[in-house]
């Protein structure tokens, strides 16, 4: 192989699975020692491109075109030689670290297996190399002995083990398929750092597949943008990101720029090419002050009954509200970041009052009668939500967000403290107040798992009506279902369909419809847009915005994603180790974070970076 020919070269690769075309005309190159960023939304064919390089395509696949790795045509290699190549010359890491490792084998076994498979080494040598590899990925033997099992490690640590498996034999090419999507931001920063250093130190080429433009912009030299199985644009990072030529890239770019965390001057470095700031100027938090001054109705969302995410249609850009652009005006932002009582709304009593809430999980049993000390998941948390307010709760996994959500919903025993909704206790003596149920609904993260697949949409959506004191008659129920479905941009006819007929974004709309049907005053959105693609996410956020304005809803927006929270909330709370470490006006917190943890979170959030081309 001469110096100029690329390490990997795909020419006119077509792929179909059971006659359904998946990839069309994929031609790309990965240069030795370089990083190629492959971006696109779910279903765009990114992962299938990766799997076709690995030649690990699902059954029923038919692939044509040529894939040359170091000059060898991969599609012509016999399976045995491909096995030698995989894990040795080409390594691959995956999106979901929680399930990517075999749960019944120790990490030493799993990393060592990769080494023994490809290298003729003695037992001791193989073990030494295993130890070195794990050390290389930041898992030193002193803290992470080889006999650890995956379930004893965190998500980030597991991803490091997966990386160790992939790089143990010093491959020339590492394919990373959404390696950090499932991880918290601070963990994500660590993994990206590791990938970068591996790439530089070992000179390996990296193919980074991601839907997150910010992540890619910080890592890649070259960019390939995929959409519906085709490459719509490719080139150098500066060229593609600096002046996106294709309409789709443009759209993707706008949609993600909308949900960019913009940093105030305190955090932000001087480079003016951070798009976030500029874009944030166009963003208004959901139902910010604009409620008093009626704003023009936002652009209607594209017909949602069309299958899939309908990404080709341009995303509605949120209505620019002249009244508020908090993130862009850091100087004018109020500096009180611990203003609990200084609610911006001068309403009489708060909608939701949480006072000194403590939730504990019992420790595991260590003897017949003794328990380990209880784990305090929520520790003395107090906050209020005003009528019509939209408030964010951010924090990383394990910080107690979910427990707090469960407590608010009355699904959890409160160790101490109280939760009142409109002055009424949410749960007294383990019985959830019916009145509270009628006022509060929830939308969960997983648009696939949170519906019973055997029920029709009409039944799913009308379910909360049972908590009403007088559930409506059949006809009235149908009318209400139809009207909420229409209010979330679906059709009344959709109530006769089953949930599998809808895309992720549409399902999340149905979940919102379900929460709206009893006309609550508070909706808890538990990572409600985290599983959605950027363009779909923008649409759903837009919908929430509209609904809030029309119906005066209050939102508790729980998310690990700072950008979304910044985009849609007026106030934000930052949670760590069960405590709320900082709360205040969203703009103020993001511009001028007070608590070190908030700063750490903000610093770890990748920013979309556009180098001058």
């Amino acid at each position: 192989m001469n110096a100029e020919s690329p390490l990997l070269r795909m020419d006119n690769v077509q792929l179909s699975i059971h006659q359904t075309p998946i990839l069309q005309d994929i031609s790309l190159q990965v240069q030795a020692g370089q990083t190629l960023g492959l971006i696109g939304e779910s279903g765009s064919g990114k992962s299938m491109t990766a799997l076709s390089i690995m030649q690990l395509l699902p059954r029923g696949s038919r692939q044509t075109g040529s894939i040359r790795f170091q000059g060898q045509a991969l599609e012509k290699l016999p399976e045995a030689e491909l096995c030698e190549l995989r894990g040795s010359d080409i390594g691959m890491i995956f999106q979901e670290p929680m399930t990517a490792l075999n749960p019944v084998k120790s990490i030493g076994e799993q990393v060592g297996e990769s080494i023994r498979l490809h290298r003729r080494l003695s037992r001791d040598e193989a073990q030494a190399l295993t130890l070195r590899t794990l050390e290389r990925v930041g898992l030193p033997n002193t803290k992470f002995p080889l006999n650890r099992y995956p379930h004893e490690l965190s998500g980030g640590q597991r991803q490091r083990v997966v990386i160790a498996i992939a790089i143990a034999c010093q491959p020339r090419l590492l394919i990373a398929d959404e390696p950090t999507t499932a991880l918290d931001v601070t963990t994500q920063a660590g993994i990206l750092e590791l990938l970068k250093s591996l790439q530089q130190d070992e000179g390996l080429a990296l193919m980074l597949i991601s839907h997150d433009l910010a992540v890619v912009s910080n890592m890649a030299n070259d960019i390939v943008v995929m959409h519906k199985g085709r490459i719509v644009e490719q080139g150098g990072l500066g060229a593609v990101f600096g002046s996106p030529a294709h309409r789709y890239t443009q759209m993707l770019f706008d949609a993600s720029a909308l949900t960019q965390v913009s940093h105030g001057p305190a955090v932000q470095t001087a480079d003016a090419d951070v798009v976030g700031v500029e874009m944030a100027a166009r963003v208004s938090p959901i139902n910010s002050d604009s409620r008093s001054t009626p704003t023009p109705t936002p652009t209607p969302t594209p017909t949602p009954t069309s299958t899939s995410t309908s990404t080709s249609t341009p995303t509605p850009t949120p209505t620019p509200t002249p009244t508020s652009a908090p993130a862009s005006a850091p100087a004018s932002a109020p500096a009180h970041t611990s203003a609990v009582s200084a609610a911006p709304h001068a309403s009489t009593s708060p909608l939701l009052q949480v006072e000194n809430l403590i939730c504990e999980y019992p420790g595991r049993r260590i003897g017949l009668f003794s328990h380990a000390p209880a784990f305090r998941a929520v520790d003395r948390v107090s906050f209020d939500i005003q009528h019509g307010e939209s408030i964010g709760l951010v924090g990383e996994s394990g910080c107690g967000k979910s427990t707090l959500t469960r407590a608010l919903l009355g699904l959890m025993h409160l160790h101490d403290g109280r939760i009142r909704l409109n002055g009424e206790e949410v749960s007294a003596a383990h019985v959830v107040s019916r009145a509270a149920r009628q006022q509060m609904q929830v939308v969960f993260q997983d648009p696939y798992g949170s519906f019973n697949p055997r029920h029709r949409v009409g039944r799913l959506v009308s379910e909360p009506l049972h908590v009403l004191d007088e559930p409506p008659e059949r006809k009235a129920t149908q009318r209400r279902v139809a009207s909420v479905l229409e209010s979330v941009g679906l059709h009344a006819d959709d109530s006769n369909k089953f949930i599998h007929e809808f895309s992720g974004g549409q399902r999340q709309r149905i979940a919102i419809a379900r929460s709206l049907i009893i006309e609550p005053s508070l909706i808890i959105l538990d990572e409600a847009v985290s599983a959605l693609d950027v363009s779909v996410r923008a649409q759903v956020l837009q919908l929430l915005d509209t609904l809030a304005r029309e119906q005066g809803l209050a939102y508790l927006f729980i998310s690990h994603d700072l950008s979304v929270v910044q985009r849609v909330t007026e106030r934000v709370m930052v949670m760590q180790h069960g405590q709320i470490v900082e709360q205040g006006d969203t703009a103020a917190v993001f511009v001028n974070p007070q608590h070190p943890y908030t700063r750490e979170l903000l610093a770890a959030t990748p920013r979309l970076r556009i180098p001058s081309s």
Binding site: M54, L56, R59, E79, A80, C83, E84, L85, R86, G87, S88, G91, M92, F94, E96, T99, A100, L101, N102, P103, V104, K105, S106, E113, S114, L117, H118, Y149, H151, E152, V162, I165, A166
Partner: protein, 316 residues
């Protein structure tokens, strides 16, 4: 791990205690007095009373329960009402047939089911899969006594390789003993193997779809290596569960097959004892079976922990 073991043992003893109470109570409320049954319809009232006191039936319930339990703990299961021989000896004789038969059948079923299940799973949707699945349907559908009769007709009557029934006795040698258990074991194993094959296949298919199987392939394992090294052990939990249930069933559930082959096993013993109101034998055999089931569950629990490190930790 030791702690886990002790806790399992503790719950095992508790289960046995509860089971013994239930067995005793149930037998108490069942109508039919052993003494009058033994003496026949025309027995004098005082003769019956005398026999009752001789058998200890005139004592209070709790007293008899305590006697029964303490006797069992010392290996004394009491005297059979009908045969006037120690129950322990009767049961031991039968167990020497039933236990080997159950193990033999379990062995055959495993040997059949594992390869068949793995084969079917790794050729999902192919001819191999369809064929194996077709045979398992047959295996489940065919009544095992009818299959046993076919086996007798073919191998015993036509070919004369095996005797048509009866047990040669272990004293005539291991081979002779196993030989007389072979046809019964095959007829018992067949439906079990069919079920186990299906469980193995579906469990494996679940595991084959897991993310870590992709990781295994990406590190360069062939399909076969990945299946054997990574999928099999993960697929074992449901398979072990079914094996445990099947073994428990085989110990006493072989009654029809025992009848077909004239084997003096536990199943026949308990059937006869019930027919003759020989309550003490029924109680003892049922307790023995409870004990066996509890022990099998215990062993299966240990096997779970051996297979899956997560279970070791949770219950530590």
């Amino acid at each position: 791990m030791l702690h886990y073991l002790f806790r399992r043992l503790g719950s095992l003893l508790a289960t046995l205690l509860v089971a013994s109470l239930v067995v005793f109570l149930v037998i108490e409320v069942v109508p039919g007095d052993p003494a009058s049954y033994m003496l026949g319809m025309n027995a004098q009232a005082d003769t019956v009373a005398a026999l009752r006191s001789e058998l200890g039936l005139d004592q209070s319930g709790p007293a008899r329960y305590l006697q029964w339990i303490s006797g069992m703990l010392q290996g004394d299961f009491g005297q059979s009402y009908t045969y006037r021989t120690p129950v322990a000896d009767m049961v031991a004789d039968r167990l020497w047939i039933s236990l080997p038969l159950a193990l033999y059948a379990l062995f055959l079923s495993t040997v059949l089911a594992f390869p068949a299940g793995i084969w079917a799973a790794s050729h999902r949707g192919g001819v191999a899969d369809t064929t194996v699945m077709g045979f398992t349907q047959l295996g489940i559908a065919i009544p095992n006594f009818w299959f046993a009769l076919l086996l007798v007709m073919f191998f015993a009557v036509n070919l004369g390789w095996f005797s048509a029934g009866g047990f040669a006795g272990w004293e005539s040698g291991l081979f002779a003993g196993l030989k007389s258990l072979t046809l019964p074991a095959i007829s018992l194993a067949l439906p079990q193997a069919a079920i186990l094959t299906r469980v193995m296949r579906s469990s494996l298919l679940d595991v084959l779809g897991e993310d870590f199987m992709r990781t295994a392939r990406a590190k360069g394992l062939s399909e076969r290596q990945a299946l054997l090294r990574h999928a099999l052990r993960n697929a074992m939990i449901p398979v072990l569960t079914i094996m445990g249930l099947q073994f428990s069933f085989l110990i006493a559930g072989a009654i029809i097959i025992e009848n077909v082959f004239f084997l003096p096993g536990l199943g026949r013993l308990i059937f006869q004892s019930i027919a003759q109101r020989d309550l003490i034998v029924v109680e003892s055999v049922v307790m023995l079976l409870v004990f066996a089931v509890v022990m099998v569950t215990f062993v299966i629990d240990l096997a779970y922990a051996w297979v899956d490190p997560r279970l070791r930790q949770q219950r530590r």
